[in-house]
């Protein structure tokens, strides 16, 4: 049986329909905002660039005594801004030097927010990216000192700048 009201036209702009439209509009708006926010997330690129920068800086003309010495200043050595990396609570850097022959870690130090290391370890272990965690990058390079002793220079960098 046909509904007489349904053919009269005015049923088209009913309150129910308006509510449906509003839900659709709000969903689309949220989608667009989320899209633009995701697009503007550069944390992984930042972390990756930081690892590359440190490896480039320390691996090129590698000097074992420079890195392991008491006077070693990563920020000065690699032209990095300590105001941003140490004081902003958004970054983490871990630098380690592993003696290939003995298998011992001869240098291990970190800068920035230590808590981020847990987030990095979790993501590396699970081999996945957690959007709510700081984004991490791990890079390593084989280096040799003057006496041709080989080391694995490893850098873990993370950014949580939003």
């Amino acid at each position: 049986m046909k509904n007489k009201k349904a053919t009269s036209g005015d049923i088209y702009v009913s309150p129910v329909l308006i509510v449906i439209w509003v839900i659709v509009a709000v969903s689309i708006a949220i989608g667009v905002i989320v899209f633009y926010n995701t697009q503007a997330d550069t944390r992984l690129i930042e972390a990756d660039a930081l690892s590359t920068k440190i490896l480039d800086c320390l691996g090129k003309d590698f000097n074992y005594l420079d890195i392991t010495g008491n006077e070693f200043d990563l920020f000065k050595e690699c032209n990095l801004n300590s105001n941003v990396l140490e004081k902003s609570d958004n970054y983490y850097i871990r630098l380690s030097l592993n003696d290939i022959d003995s298998g011992k870690i001869v240098y291990d130090s970190f800068w920035g927010v230590g808590v981020i290391s847990t987030q990095c370890e979790y993501q590396f272990k699970e081999n996945k990216i957690e959007p709510n965690f700081a984004q991490c990058s791990k890079k390593s390079m084989l280096v040799a000192d003057e006496s041709d002793r080989k080391y694995l220079l490893e850098v873990i960098s993370a950014s949580n700048q939003k």
Binding site: S8, G9, Y12, I28, A29, A40, L50, D56
Partner: protein, 133 residues
Amino acid sequence: MLFKNKKSQDSIAGTIVFIIVAAVFFGILLLFISQIGTGAGTLEKIYSREIAVAIDSMRPGTEITFYLPDLFDKAKANNFNGNIIFPNYENGTITIRAVEGAGNSYSYYTKLEPGSVSFNREKKIITINSGVL
């Protein structure tokens, strides 16, 4: 008379009202979405990040020039004549502004010499110099 009876007249009028309401509603929605994508706030946010990341990815002794007509045009449309890009070399932040206000800031971790960042309003470009090799 164009329509044979009142019932069909009502139906046509209802359909027309429906089309008008739908067009207005979805027109406003489209306008809102396009405003989000090309609004000053979005441009400020995206470009502050892009430029900060570019600074951190630059190798020493290089120069990058950004051609950003949309950002400069937006600033012009908003009658904004202040600094479109404002670097804080000490704290390592880049602030982009296309409208009067605080703008959008983002940090970069590479140390830049004062004067490394400049812009040209006529050419619509932003230039970053990473310093001496």
